[in-house]
């Protein structure tokens, strides 16, 4: 009985900590201003929309990986997947939370766009170093 209680409580707090962790990752990127070229290539001008995420992720795969952002992208990717799943199932019963979920998914897309911006800058730096050599 005790094990069941601990399991339920732990899974609930795990989900809560995971959501907060992803939000803290996204919040640390929210102040980053996207470069002109990333805005052009992703189509994110005034603000990201939830549907931008898939496109930005495809663009990210075209860039060389930057070790510092891989874990964050995986975590936010999982958060985006959970939000999609929740929207398709649980949130249908609570329509008031739909705008919140949309806003969160848009946040995930902006986080991915910031990662793309940083990867492009990183690739440029590497290229410049190779040219110097």
């Amino acid at each position: 009985m005790m094990a069941v209680f601990i399991f339920v409580f732990s899974v609930t707090t795990l989900l809560m900590f995971f959501v907060s962790y992803c939000r803290s990752l996204m919040a640390s990127s929210s102040r980053h201003v996207l470069s002109e070229e990333v805005r052009d290539v992703t189509g994110i001008h005034s603000g990201a929309s939830p549907r931008d995420y898939a496109r930005v992720m495809q663009l990210l795969q075209l860039c060389p990986e930057r070790p510092q952002d891989t874990t964050g992208l995986h975590a936010v990717g999982a958060y985006y997947w959970i939000l999609n799943f929740a929207q398709a199932t649980l949130l249908r019963m609570v329509p008031a939370l739909q705008p919140w979920a949309e806003q969160e998914r848009a946040g995930c897309a902006y986080f991915a766009a910031v990662a793309l911006d940083r990867r492009i800058a990183f690739s440029r730096e590497m290229l410049a170093q190779q040219v110097d050599l």
């Binding site: 069941v4 601990i6 409580f9 732990s10 899974v11 795990l14 962790y21 964050g72």
Partner: protein, 233 residues
């Protein structure tokens, strides 16, 4: 006998624990987060001790290895509690009731230490796997409750330091996942084949998250407190 996958995860975990200390020293944050670093150093020393015992010919199923495992695990959990208390002190350092809170945390720490010691000492003859799972489940659950309270304090005082917030959230994730994993083992053995890899993997994620936090953010990086609340108020 440990499988190659288990050994690989173990080596990776130890390397990541060491990387937390290296990153802290490189970013001049070693003393700032002394107790977090102390926990990581103790984890590395524990791994070295366990390897030494295995290399000396004592397998993982021997009594010698079990004793070392139990006592070092209890010691590590206590070191992690001290790290949580140090985070409490950091978050609540400027509040007038911080002194009482620190005292309560120390009493809880000593109580847990005494409880763990007495349980292990009295049950030395039945240091079985089931018993170990139950003890670990309870210790991780206490850690989870402490971290949950700490997270409540972070939201209450509207903490903005990115590093501190991410350290606490990673710790919360770690304790929740460990407590859930041990609880699952306690009420069913159906997932044992998967769960035997889960715990060492969880042990890798905490140092990985802490290393990345130290590398990504400086002590001056700040977050908007409103962005941490799951559902905006």
């Amino acid at each position: 006998m440990l499988g190659s996958a288990t050994l690989a995860i173990w080596y990776l975990g130890t390397a990541l624990e060491l990387s937390v200390v290296v990153c802290s020293v490189a970013r001049k944050s070693f003393l700032r987060y002394f107790f977090l670093n102390l926990y990581m150093l103790l984890s590395v020393l524990t791994s070295v001790g366990r390897w030494y015992l295995i290399l000396s010919g004592f397998g993982v199923n021997t009594d010698q290895y079990r004793y070392l495992y139990f006592y070092t695990d209890a010691l590590l959990t206590l070191a992690l509690y001290v790290a949580v208390i140090s985070l409490f002190a950091d978050v609540l350092g400027e509040l007038h009731f911080a002194k009482h809170l620190r005292l309560a945390a120390v009493v809880l720490l000593l109580g847990t230490a005494a409880f763990s010691y007495s349980v292990v000492a009295q049950s030395a003859d039945r240091l079985s796997t089931d018993f170990a799972y139950q003890l670990s489940q309870n210790l991780y659950f206490v850690g989870l409750v402490l971290t949950y309270l700490l997270w409540g304090a972070v939201l209450k005082v509207r903490e903005t330091r990115t590093r501190l917030v991410q350290f606490i959230l990673s710790l919360g994730l770690y304790f929740s996942a460990c407590a859930a994993s041990y609880a699952l083992k306690n009420f069913t053995d159906r997932y044992d084949d998967i769960l035997k890899y889960v715990d060492p993997l969880l042990g890798c994620l905490l140092p990985l998250a802490w290393s990345l936090t130290i590398l990504r953010h400086t002590e001056e990086t700040r977050l908007a407190p409103a962005s941490l609340v799951v559902v905006p108020r």
